[in-house]
Subunit: 211 residues, 2 copies
DNA sequence: AATTATTTTAACCAGATGGTTAAAATAATT
DNA sequence: AATTATTTTAACCATCTGGTTAAAATAATT
């Protein structure tokens, strides 16, 4: 390998190890020694590449909170899909993300509550405008003939139903599945269908109410 | 005050302080000195009353995870309420609990994921049977003419919608409310009505589907 | 082969932290 | 007033932890 490739390679090994440890244990629970071990290097080299724990943590956090935000905004804004199609699409992809990153929800919840200011800072740095979200809400409200407020609650309900089963897994798995991990994974897979149906049905049920 | 009352009083002061600090910062983030300060005593006395940090933490955790479980099982099993009434009752009371204990959801999520074994241990010690929950599921399934599986997803959806807005508060508040705390509190209050409606409507919408 | 870059070794430091101890001080009981 | 129980003071300890350093060793470049 060339010198520059070696450098990038080591950097990546560290970042992957740091992600694994920080996501699982959080800033407070993670140890630099553990990250070094996980990366297969020593502590001196770890500090040589990334000066401090906080700096390394922030790099991981920024990437992971970015992943946490669904890359589905264009889809939710598209004119070619109905509301139902958008919901099915969103739920399936969002739950899939967490099936691939099962500890992402817990990590985000833990860290944003430890230091809520990081959230505001992330939005400023990433240049994310809340306009997109408000546009989605307005779009749903228009298409479904409901108030923006109600459309917003609907979105929060949908997102909640995708995220919570991952964050609350230890309890639900224990109470309802007697700790059977395989069964719980099946349950999570199933939810792609059930959550979307649940949301779509709720709108249908609302329509008869107001008729 | 009598000697025994003084003892109980100090004990309570410590437990209240410990709850405050542990719930906010978690086991890893909490400091014994901070708990002592919060209780208005010194570290020596803190250790005199509760031998170790872990022991003190476990006392708090057991109480709080107990609070986390809705004391609403009898209501959900009652024969005198319809499904709709049960949902409205449950959602209102559960959200109310979190309005009074805003950091309870984050605390529980943080700690059960840090040490999932505590959950199983709690269930053994508290003697909680999963039969109650399974009975509620069966009851819903019977009353609504849906499968137990579907009834279970419904319950998880309902619980998710109550809990997540508290655990994910920093993000939602930032993205949709520009950090306006008062507005977010109003939104949470509103949800008592909207979440219940959402769930009830979903069942209504499902009924037309199968007709 | 000589030079340069990357990594390891291993000792070390300072500060934080959980926990202890014994004596002094304060408050309650008799 | 004397005794007993509660709390403070304050020094102290061992361990952990983030972080540093300089020299030796290994690998890549020229």
């Amino acid at each position: 390998m060339t010198a520059k490739k070696i450098e990038k390679d080591t950097e990546n090994k560290i970042l992957e190890a740091a992600k694994k440890v920080f996501v699982l244990k959080g800033l407070d629970g993670a140890r630099m020694q553990e990250i070094a071990d996980e990366a297969g290097i020593n502590k001196a080299l770890l500090h040589y590449y990334f000066r401090s724990k906080d700096q390394l943590f922030m790099m991981i956090f920024k990437v992971e909170i970015g992943n946490f935000f669904p890359r589905l905004i264009p889809i939710l804004l598209s004119k070619e899909m109905t509301f139902d199609q958008k919901i099915y699409h969103f739920v399936e992809n969002y739950i899939d993300l967490f099936l691939k990153n099962p500890f992402l929800p817990t990590f985000i919840i833990r860290e944003i509550n430890r230091n809520p200011q990081m959230v505001a800072q992330f939005f400023i740095e990433a240049g994310i405008e809340s306009n997109n979200f408000k546009q989605i809400i307005a779009g749903f409200a228009g298409e479904l003939g409901i108030s923006p407020k109600e459309a917003f609650h609907l979105i929060i309900n949908t997102v909640s139903a995708c995220i919570f089963p991952f964050a609350g897994r230890p309890i639900i798995e224990q109470v309802f599945f007697d700790g059977n991990t395989a069964e719980y994974n099946h349950f999570l897979e199933e939810r792609k269908k059930f959550v979307a149906e649940f949301v779509v049905n709720s709108i249908k049920g609302r329509m008869i109410n107001t008729k």
